[in-house]
Symmetry: C2
Subunit: 234 residues, 2 copies
């Protein structure tokens, strides 16, 4: 009970995001081919979960839309579990209206074009390729939502080369306000690790946050979100 009270205090009722609703997506998506096989993106979910916690600590109501991860549900945060990109989009839309949307999940761009009910057997001719079809774009769909676009829409860009170039292009293409760009090349240790080096791209300049714990990246981002939204009305 003492720990609960301490955590409630940390949640900062009356904090800079008090009265705000923030939706955060986190983790990978898994796109099934048959009952046992799937195509996936790598993502531990750690950065997205940390952002959800950081926004909660500034007093926001937070909805976390989480793909499959090994992480426990964070306390005090409504966590909606999904598996596929289509489910992640539906859960994100269902969570609106929101003041800010943070698309931290590593959504699979593509899914298998056909999903079979039974396991595809190797001995029945086998598989020579997985035909793909494009998934809906969760970030762009929310950033261009006809009736309920959040005031602030933030995407993440996980790139392995020309990180800033790809990220600037992504900001324009998706219609989002900010992009948090990071380099996930093998060897950076970002993927699955506890630290991150990111560049925040706001359209008013780039800001590099170098080699910080994911919790600190999250705290800074939550504060920037609060600053951009200003005090909640009422």
């Amino acid at each position: 009970a003492i720990a609960d009270a301490a955590e409630d205090a940390l949640r900062g009722e009356g904090g800079a995001l008090s009265g705000r609703h923030v939706v955060v997506t986190a983790g990978p998506t898994h796109e099934p081919l048959d009952p046992v096989r799937y195509v996936a993106n790598r993502s531990s979910g750690k950065q997205g979960y940390a952002i959800a916690r950081a926004c909660r600590q500034l007093g926001a109501r937070v909805t976390l839309v989480a793909g499959p991860t090994a992480l426990p549900d964070p306390r005090g945060i409504e966590t909606v579990h999904v598996e596929t990109a289509r489910q992640m989009l539906a859960a994100s839309e269902a969570a609106l209206p929101a003041d800010a949307f943070v698309a931290c999940a590593a959504v699979a761009d593509y899914r298998p074009a056909y999903e079979t009910e039974h396991k595809v057997k190797k001995e029945r001719g086998g598989l020579t390729a997985i035909d793909l079809t494009e998934n809906p774009d969760v970030l762009a769909s929310i950033a261009r939502h006809a009736s309920r676009r959040p005031a602030l829409v933030i995407g993440f860009a996980a790139e392995t080369d020309d990180v800033l170039g790809h990220a600037e292009a992504k900001r324009a293409r998706k219609g989002c306000d900010w992009i948090v760009a990071n380099d996930v090349s093998p060897g950076t240790g970002t993927m699955g690790g506890d630290r991150n080096a990111v560049t925040l791209i706001t359209g008013e300049g780039d800001e590099a946050w170098e080699d910080l714990p994911k919790s600190e990246v999250s705290r800074r981002l939550a504060e920037r979100i609060a600053g951009a939204l200003g005090p909640a009305p009422g």
Copy 2:
């Protein structure tokens, strides 16, 4: 220290598998397409980890070759972490000689034919299919090992239809001694769950073990392995 002593006692030095070396594979494999995307099989690893623990409790030395799971390394068991089917085969061969090999992992039959160093960008024409190539067969490779075939080689068959028919065929095709067949259709709750319903196929008849905790399936299997191997020489 008391817990450690209790656990050492449970390990049954002088148990029915004392003096034996058992290699167990567990979990899925992940087959990379590029630094962020991969093709995978579903497997929590729970059944394989439980078998490794059950063999250890009967006194065996156990090597656990584990694909990516969310499970902690079991105490007192040498755990080798791998990602791909090729790595799983290499680690399994490196663990020989062994008295028994239990292939519980859900190894991906196929991997992407080409792995790229940089993330494949959607805007550069995109992906329309993932070309596949066949993975090495871990179970058959160990069951047909030229110089160091373990005395007892056991495979698992996760099927969604005609479970026994597919499993009997698999036993012959792979050259293994026993098959543990289970039905992983959606709705059975086997996948990722803590219970299992299996049929042990030994070539001398089928034995159904219905709706048991995975720990109990493991205990029975470890005892059957000990019975088949008999007392260790020396």
